[in-house]
Symmetry: D2
Subunit: 335 residues, 4 copies
């Protein structure tokens, strides 16, 4: 049996990455793709990378029709819009992986404060599984709706959560300094992400006010079982792909070696998470679903460094991994 | 009168940047350049950027002869070797600006611990002026030898020192997370700085053990008048030039606005230091001697962000600025 | 006396480059800048590179008022719109350097065919000097209006024109294969020039139908004194700045050495044009007003290679050079 | 049955690309890797991309032992050295895919003229199959030794050969202007390929004297059945991967549409060759084994544009494709 996959919102980079990954997947196939703006073209006209490889037609979104054609839908719409569509799709009986932030947080108040919109389906906040199979595989397996994690949060939760859960580090004064490739900013026409604006340049943005800060704190708390305080600074880095997070934590009478040991135990059965001896670079995981993490002692701090590909483990690869879990495949199938 | 400038160690990127800046300088001229490896060629053969613009011959280093030809020598040799050459040049009566770390620190023990070599001229450690005209212009004016600052330290000292001096922030738990372009790694043939190793990738290195950590701590202490504790993490970023430092400090009952005010007062007469409202990007200062700095409140921290060009304000531009001070010109002449 | 310079259309990259170059110019100063969209801000708000360095206010365009404040206006508007504004400014008595293509070609028919608009000031087509001081300095000196050359044409005309004029190469079957940095595409928000579209990628565009093809042919013909046939292919290259043109010509019983000799004779008094022995790279001229050119024998062809910075010699540097000529300064002043 | 693959010369980028592709291959596995310099480490220590994914030990080369462990060996040594090793491996009875140029050309005289070395196994020049399955699949199937094509030649032969074979274009005056990413220059420590030398820069090299010129001419002649004359200019382009070839040909009373039709017919059964309507960019094929080609009328020329990934279809992907053919698999298996 081949899993029939649909994409809602096919014009962006995460949609292209889903399509790219499905081409190499032995048990799943892209069968439908929607875009309001591009109806009537094919996905290969939007993404010339797919020319001669994938010629799925672009249709306008009709939840009922899509639900019939697909076993699972990847919803790549912006927050707010996404929740509405997910609601309709789930009502039609198709399983959904939502790329937006709409179902990631634990409570509606936090969501509405940080996202500035009323939530269209508040009952599912706090009751939708967070799509990190490293911690929530059981719930993902049975889910009708999966909240695919944010890119920055993935790079911070995976190194931090087991250290908090095992009380190896202080829960306060955690600093996450992240550097992301430009694809994270999406594919809409904006001066700020023109080549000549970001090339040969690095800059911080959203200092202390980026929406991924509450998401990473929320999940580390949920997994770690205690409240934490965390400061997050993202940076726009001149590269297509990749997130490097440099994380400053206070150890509780341990050294970096214990961090590495904790990770290796925690992730022994997680095929994509590698605690590595070298300091990871984003290039080491580019185009893959892998996470590389390492730790270093530095004065009275320990510095954690994690690297992911923001489009793969940070978005579309994680979605495929979730899909594999949902349909009873090995997590690694096709990845 | 034209200042006659010599360069010792002409093959690297800082030497090219000195030559480039001197071409636009109305009162100084490159008259000599040395390189053991390239004797007999011209500087334009080593740096094709200079073809038809600057044809100074490359000679082997003879301190006595160089001292006769030059009013000031820019010494671009590696640490250790540089101190020896500086000693000979100063003995010959020519003024010297040293690009290495040999005379930057306050004491010999720290130097020998971090640099792992015996210092060839220990009497001048602690008694050589640190070439940051924003703080030491008087001593630079009269100096026979100037220790040109390190690139990362410049990006950290300028934002931090006045905040410590004015006791606006805590002296402990300062985190400096810096991102540098690749030119900082020099021009020698190494696999680690090949295009395909660093392009499309960002990575931390020297976590907690980079030699610029004691330099920035030392200078902030000297200027600020109290001991501090500081953790420094450098990152190699896929761009030619630029350093962005994201600095996490603990405010003492102030907000970011007070930081900006302090900077604006401190640097009112420093032509190259700009406290700016926007979050600076390295591109905003690329190819210039300017520093852009901004501050943001973030929970119980304040986040400082500074941007410089590592080859200009972080090296060769600072050297020209120092030369201007040494010879009684405006700091901005030719910059 | 300081030349007072105005910029019309201040939001783009060529405007920023004009402002950048004027900051280093000892005899000219930016005094006014206009932009319909950004009225009421300052030029440093549009271009953070200028923060603390140039705080000229952005006004809306009033030709009479601008003509009073300025000795010369750099008109950085799109074609069509530019000609209208130039007409008004010249009528107000201020000298104008036009960055658009509106006055570059020899005849109206060609203009209207390639640009698809009716020309608003056809009398000045064919009677406006082409701003290449290497050939037209006398006319530029006295001009009320100068047609600043296109970036690609500059990289092709300078190597080709003297070879045609001296009948060293065949006038037919000239192929110009050019590679340009992305800044040539301007600063408006378009998906096609987003970072993630052009980074790590090179592509041809406008094959055989780019508007710079008739311009380069026209000028080589005017200077060379005979009709030529030329095919031009531009390529978008993942870098901010620079144009490299690889030009395939048929020699008339000569070798590359004669090409080099011809260039050296032709450009002996042209300070920015350098025939170099090495194969030029765009980096060798980046940020400068220089042209580097070299020639190689290759079978029955000679291959010419030229490198310029598209924003400097290809646009704003050339404009400053033209301004220098118009106001009786050395061509190199401030460049 | 799983094909057991060995790599000789495991430190370079083509070796990493082979390893990367094998990780996704359902019927082949990397079982051995050699490197004189790195014996005793693992392939993941040389290439941190492979950490936790592939831990094959690095051994020193022993042909007899390697032949026992492997069904096929990918020989990634430099020319000259490669031929000797291939000879030993073939003598031991293992099938070999040679990445060097040692067995690509038709005759020894041309080889020794262009490569400047005596050939260690001249009997196999002209009698070794050229590993382009699009034309030579039958011979590849049975080969003990396959000459894997050069990267630039692949990008030129595929568009040109069918046009020559079908006499659609003139056999003379073909110009191939190619732009390559930096990985084509290999992974050895050289100043010329340091990040800061090639970033933000494009340059021609080897004009009219690059060794891939005779290779592409030779193969187009072999396939096309007539002598041709061709001029080739490679350019180093600031990107990791990709080759774009812009090819200027003279049509014989046809237009670009006939070129497209010819290609579509020729490559109807070649799964990796796509004639596309858009102008291809290297990004469209990055990381894949695909070729995209398009044609445009331009005056009395037709311009062909082809794009490949130099490490995949231009090297390691082609090798896997050849391996698939040699072992009776679909060409596309694992690609």
């Amino acid at each position: 049996m081949t899993i029939r996959v649909g994409i809602v919102g096919a014009t962006g980079y995460t949609a292209l990455e889903v399509a790219r990954l499905l081409l190499a997947h032995p048990e799943a196939e892209l069968v439908a793709a929607t875009s309001r703006a591009e109806e009537g073209t094919s996905i290969a006209e939007i993404h010339p990378e797919l020319a001669g490889r994938c010629e799925v037609a672009i249709e306008s979104l009709d939840p009922a029709s899509l639900a019939k054609k697909c076993d699972v839908v990847m919803c790549c719409l912006p927050h707010g819009a996404s929740a509405e569509t997910c609601k309709e799709l789930v009502a039609e009986g198709v399983r959904v992986i939502d790329f937006s932030a709409d179902f990631r947080l634990s409570d509606q108040v936090t969501y509405e404060k940080w996202y500035g919109v009323e939530h269209p389906w508040p009952e599912r906040i706090g009751s939708t599984v967070y799509g990190l199979p490293e911690f929530f595989a059981e719930q993902i397996r049975q889910a009708d709706l999966v909240a695919n994690p944010g890119c920055y949060p993935t790079s911070a939760i995976l190194p931090l959560a087991p250290l908090i859960a095992n009380q190896l580090i202080e829960a306060t004064d955690i600093i996450v300094d992240s550097k992301s490739g430009v694809s994270g900013a999406g594919r809409s026409a904006k001066v700020a992400t023109l080549y000549c604006e970001v090339n040969e340049s690095i800059a911080a943005y959203g200092v202390g006010c980026h929406r991924h800060q509450p998401e990473m704190a929320d999940l580390v708390q949920r997994i770690g079982g205690q409240e934490i305080s965390l400061l997050f600074t993202p940076h726009l880095t001149p590269m297509d792909r990749g997130i490097l997070s440099t994380i400053y934590v206070r150890p509780r009478n341990i050294h970096a070696a214990e961090v590495m040991a904790c990770w290796r135990k925690q992730y022994a059965d997680s095929p994509f998470v590698n605690a590595v001896d070298h300091l990871p670079a984003t290039k080491h995981v580019s185009g893959t679903n892998y996470v590389q993490m390492s730790a270093r002692d530095a004065g009275d701090r320990i510095v954690l460094v994690s690297a992911i590909d923001n489009l793969t483990k940070g978005a579309s690869g994680a979605a495929i991994q979730n899909m594999n879990v949902m349909f009873g495949l090995e997590q690694t199938t096709g990845l």
